[in-house]
Amino acid sequence: MEIYLVEVFDYDLVIVGSGLAGLRAAIEAARIGKGKLRIAIIAKNQLMRPHSISAEGGSAAVLYMDEGDSFDLHAYDTIKGSDYLCDQDVVEFFVRQCPIDILELEHWGIPWARRNDGRIAQRPFGGHSYPRATFAADRTGFYEIHTLYDTLLKYDNVDKFHEQFVYDFLIENNRFRGVVAFDIPTGQIRIFKARAGIVATGGLGRLYGYTTYSHLVTGDGLAIALRRGMKLKDIEFVQFHPTGLVPSGILITEGVRGDGGILRNAKGERFMEKYAPTKKDLAPRDIVSRSMMTEILEGRGFKGPGGLDYLLLDFSPIGAEKIKEKLSQVREIGAHYVGIDPLDSPLPVRPSAHYTMGGIDVTHTGFTGVTGLWAAGETACLSIHGSNRLGANSTSECVVFGKVAGEDSAKWLLTNSNSVDLSEGDKKYAENFLADAYRDKGDYDPYEIKRELWTTMDKDAYVFRNENGLTEGLKIIRGLIEKSGKISISEKGNVYNQNLIASLEMKNLVELAEVVVKGALERKESRGSHFRTDYPTRDDDNYLKHTIARRADGALNISYVPVTLTKWKPEPRVY
């Protein structure tokens, strides 16, 4: 091992993460900066390969008011879907912005699917009472990323840094000053000094073993925010997507059910008729996932490998032609990963960890409360998803609030000339942090800790939760946090050291796991994705409020803040 001298870059704005939110923020900041702002976008992977490319089904937007859709309807669907934990003022802004940003993507070249008359087509999606998921086959996120990346290339003053592992933010007296990273291909330590930053590193999905998330989604931005004393909001709400492909967990889009596919149990029954008589298979994800797990736990599932018991997703009602046109990728995934062409037989599915409703507590412009620092996308919690996100709302959120964060930060930079300074101490800190990460501190194996974490989360913090499981889970996780400080990594080289990265990611994950489990333990009710078998009903009197988790003096504190209601009063959630 050899530690290089620290390389320092100087920018006005640094954006961490190149998913939909990060790319959209970069475009907006560049557009508003008109060449006057020096912008860097940096990511852990190559910029055009973020997890957003895995989004399949669509992006929600009200496009056809003349045919019966409306902003109020989209807002109401979202709020009811959230089990009333949304901030309704932000939702009202969001739904009005979606069509503008969806059409903007069209003008940047995205291949949105069409109706016969040539206008944009939309498909039905879970929990939406109007078919408003705008889609590009079953690879919506993929086409969105490539459209945004191409658009970003039009701006010369945005520097792109691929494969940078960010391990801390520089914050002093509540003022953001830049980020500390190393260049994965060389190991070179880099400080991206910047007057402002936008965190868009995605959710915390790899906390779970069985998940639709890509390998690299390890909540890095969230973990740094937690360590830096920032507030994390509603983190206990993790969405389990009903149709993860068994055994890999790969996402099978909700678009399958949107286009007519149905779920069946081992007796061949369309069981969703029982749990959601009106919406059936297109009820919101939390309800479908719970119904599926009830079927499995009551013995009406199929025995799966490694305890992954499953149900079947039947494509036959969709019709061969429509499957070929609109669901080609799903067909390919089925054929390739389980050897089943859904044209011929149903696919084995089970709820898979999919989305983080919570995130860094931010204002409606994505401002984090740390001067000069914004957050956007899944990393941020604007409270438009509450305790359960509706499908097709997240890609829209990333585009809408990525743009807002890019705009707000750029305008702030243009009107505020304050500079930030680095000290020798910052460079020393950056070096020491990494030197410490390489150092052997004990015998624990980072991969083993991660496996233990996955087992615990998949068991105790899954679709159904209870006091005993969560208490036990919390104990195990605290043990893992302690172990995470006593690991050694055997690979000491600087070049493309995945052993080092895996250990840093593991540390981020175990620390975030504590927030999920502690928040879940203290929320003694069932709301949206968080279901407590020991408190099986929603308790608006005591818990119609957001959870705020904050680490201070080594302890994780949980507190609550009110929910903003505008015109929709909480009512029973029936579908």
Partner: protein
């Protein structure tokens, strides 16, 4: 449990003069892909192994390598397709090596920047109207996941320093040219600046494309034809430009 031997090319050019093959015995599980074997090696046998991967579902284009001499995505190569024979995994040979299986494909980012961007025609009435058929045509090329396997297999890139951008970039140009509302024609750029003339249509790129894009037939040959018409045949230029105009409405 059954095991399979995976022979992996290991080389850290920052500290070693030469690379070597290391054999690893990996337990076989049903449905396993070569990437699973690599993950097993990293987590259980040798954590110093370097490779690039992310989505595990054939969508992100990260895990490109050469498996038994064929450019492939590690996440899509089923272990059982090798029927128990030794599996040999090497990095993509057309790109500079970073370490082990991770290569430096960044030259492609620079090439991509040079291709004229999507430029919608002026004065289009909103909302835009496009037929689904036209969407499908451009979508074939937009499917590209930028795994660069086509670049890796291309003998023009491997063996000649001709300035040819390579198949991925012709696909990019085609994806933009095929957009029914795009105002540009990139054929001239592709031939004059991107060296398309060097491609002698051996179709190797089409064979390795994990997205099954008909790179040669649907992207390269049409871009070549359009250029021929543009450069050498005044009558054809006239006809083609009329046809383009009506076809692109």
């Amino acid at each position: 449990m059954d095991t399979i031997t995976v022979s992996v090319y290991r080389h850290d050019p920052s500290s070693e003069k030469e690379g070597r093959f290391v054999d690893y015995d990996v337990p076989v599980e049903e449905g396993m892909v070569v990437l699973d074997a690599m993950k097993y090696i990293e987590r259980h046998i040798d954590p110093s192994l370097s490779l690039r991967w992310n989505c595990m579902a054939g969508k992100c284009g990260s895990c490109s390598a050469e498996i038994n001499y064929k450019p492939s995505l590690m996440c899509k190569a089923r272990v059982d397709s090798f029927k128990g024979a030794k599996i040999r995994v090497t990095p993509m040979a057309a790109f500079p090596l970073i370490k082990d299986l991770a290569t430096d494909v960044s030259e492609n980012w620079e090439l991509l920047k040079k291709i004229p961007k999507f430029t919608p025609k002026e004065g289009l009435e909103k909302p835009w109207k496009i037929s689904q058929q036209d969407i499908e045509r451009s979508k074939e090329f937009k499917k590209c996941i930028e795994c660069f396997l086509c670049q890796d297999v291309c003998h023009v890139i491997r063996e000649h320093h001709s300035g040819y951008f390579g198949p991925r970039h012709v696909v990019k140009a085609a994806s933009l040219d095929m957009h029914p509302l795009d105002a540009l024609n990139r054929a001239e750029f592709m031939n004059k600046d991107a060296g398309l003339g060097y491609c002698n249509i051996t179709k190797c790129c089409t064979e390795v494309c994990p997205e099954e894009i008909h790179i040669t037939d649907n992207a390269i040959i049409p871009e070549k034809e359009r250029a021929v018409n543009l450069f050498y045949d005044p009558l054809a230029i006239l006809v083609r430009s009329r046809r383009n105009r009506s076809g692109k409405k």
